[in-house]
Symmetry: C2
Amino acid sequence: MSEGGRPVEMIKAVLSEEHIPKAWYNIQADLPVPLAPALHPGTKQPVGPHDLAPLFPTEIILQEVSTERYVDIPREVRDIYRLWRPTPLHRARRLELALGTPAHIYYKYEGVSPAGSHKPNTAIAQAFYNKQAGVRRLTTETGAGQWGSALALACRFFDLQCTVYMVRVSYEQKPYRRVMMETWGAEVLPSPSPRTAAGRAVLERDPHSLGSLGIAISEAAEDAATHDDTKYSLGSVLNHVLMHQTVIGLEAKTQMEMFGEYPDVVVGCCGGGSNLAGLSFPFLADRFKGKRLRVVAVEPTACPSLTRGKYLYDFGDEAETSPLLKMHTLGHRFIPAGIHAGGLRYHGDAPLVCLLHAHGYIEAAAYPQVPVFAAAVEFARAEGILPAPESAHAIKKVLDEALEAKEAGDARVILFNLSGHGHFDLAAYQDYLSGKLRDYAYPEKEVEKATAELAPLQP
Amino acid sequence: MSEGGRPVEMIKAVLSEEHIPKAWYNIQADLPVPLAPALHPGTKQPVGPHDLAPLFPTEIILQEVSTERYVDIPREVRDIYRLWRPTPLHRARRLELALGTPAHIYYKYEGVSPAGSHKPNTAIAQAFYNKQAGVRRLTTETGAGQWGSALALACRFFDLQCTVYMVRVSYEQKPYRRVMMETWGAEVLPSPSPRTAAGRAVLERDPHSLGSLGIAISEAAEDAATHDDTKYSLGSVLNHVLMHQTVIGLEAKTQMEMFGEYPDVVVGCCGGGSNLAGLSFPFLADRFKGKRLRVVAVEPTACPSLTRGKYLYDFGDEAETSPLLKMHTLGHRFIPAGIHAGGLRYHGDAPLVCLLHAHGYIEAAAYPQVPVFAAAVEFARAEGILPAPESAHAIKKVLDEALEAKEAGDARVILFNLSGHGHFDLAAYQDYLSGKLRDYAYPEKEVEKATAELAPLQP
């Protein structure tokens, strides 16, 4: 392309509907070492399908352990994906110029989904398989509401009822994502609620409990396990969730080809690991075949599971209702500081991400939130889009990489996942801009205590 | 396209960067009757360039009166447009199925811009021409902040300072769009402010004034007129603003061709008229040449300027600082009820839209806000996207057209402008969902009083 003699670089690779991937990439087919199985906390034996059946439909359970390299995306799921997919991949040319870096910076933008993040990629798939299995209602938990809103949207599309247990303090203080869920027809309950035995037990001890994600998980799982027509849905951590997110990376590979480039480094923020995995796993498939490539997971200093956690078996939830998962963990009783990136306040990480980190395929970095917000504002001023605080962690790392490239005079190609927009996080931006945002030191002692409790859980 | 034997209809037409229009369409070249000029309120003579020079740069003033059919879009403006343009055009297949209508419903989605609406289409152009003219700072007014945030974004891209006078009650009660503007580097002042003589006069009379758009306009215009390096920017109503928005309709024409369809009816909400004009004017160009086409402007019952106003000369602003414009008006002293669609609370309409309405080229309809929100929720549940309350007015009309088509068994093609998303309007959705939203009757007596005052203004 050129215009008036001046060469015009493409800055945005858009694809039409027919380029939506027809299959997800399942990294379990290519792992360099086998994945440690999830264990039953009582027997310490690998959990079987019958253990998971009260919570998940058969197809999801099969996907969780599948080693098929590609799993077909059902036509009904692609039919919904195309409401916003393929998502655009941008070259951040204005950011490069602002930084004066020779690096080429690209981002895949998942904030264009109706829920504003990558979360619907798996929510839609899960809702479909549940509908197919005759399930009538899905339950889940949510903190600030990003995952809950994705599942509410998905349930609406497949005419499923949706019950979201929302941590009470968020339910009361951050009503907007709740309203979004209700607009899509979900029932949203403040957790702890009188609806479940788990909730009633907490309310008996403390009628004014603000709730926690751990309590909300217990309520959602109990609700599903005690109703025949109801199953439970999880938004990250598990293998099938990460696989559903690979549509991001599969599209990105096609789009990077349109730019005639291949990333030297792929960056994603990491809470449970689903957005990082979604973008990076299809590229890691090339690395397994010998391609040079770095993948970097970025987490908050306040909750640094990959950079500081122990690689051990632990519960996936604070309330000890899940199977044991082998992962980098800060201990399931560890409660991270109240940073604004609520989606990164998870004590562990997806077992697949942890395995690849443990074997050197995924690097990790951690940042405090003040420099993360500074990076978010720098990005917003250059590229326009206001990033979610979670995604801003990836941006901080990208800026560091780009400045390193500038010093080294190296034109490295950086690709990151802009996993969501920050339209519901402006209170956090306000705190940052007014100088009220604070950082939290790495909570060394709390982590030591929480991880010390894990010894008896090991097989 | 087909998949597994089943024909797959395209539901989303996406274009790549090179399809961003290279020129805006200027409807002034094709008007069936001449446009009544803006008048000086003292002399009642047409205003000349020298009257406008304190507020606008020369290029904008020339565009305001140009009768060239196409005006080139500067390369620097297209360079910014491509951050989010071309915007997608969707077929609302799921909505059609939900309604059981034979109508084909299409929408152009402008909510993908970083500011979340169509407003940056003109903000970027205005910032560019001001930068080119050596201007260092732009001022404007904003209510809830949609226009202010678009101009803040545009000024950031062209390294201009930006001062936004924000109606005080919104500044205090709706801080999020203010934070968005500040993130992009704008200075946002609650209006009335002590910064201007106009603001000080109001504060002297009432130190606790909540402000109004009229006061904010006076402050922004005074600030620009009294500083050599500063100009003023307006987000709707004027001819050049409507012309900048025609990128919407020009793209939509190409996209409708991709679907192999041409609209029978084009629908847009109408406050000042810029999003309606942006989508419909390039189609009206065909109608001037004999093509069959209906265009419908949709407004709130609480502020029904096209459906109930008088076609007279009136001030563009409550504070009587603007030239006189010939338009359908409820009187510049009319204060509409506090409906949630703040962008539609304007006493008049763009002179170009009014002229075309007066001569039968544009129909108008008005709806109360409760059925408008019902339509918004129906749309969100079918298509996923949460519409802005303004855009929801267009949706209500589209639903009525689609149901009429169902009764008549006619497969009419409907195209509407989904001019923005509702991420900053969830309090309004909450009011609707909880049954607290109320409707307002047409304020007949107030309008009679406000329009009676217009007689002495006529030439």
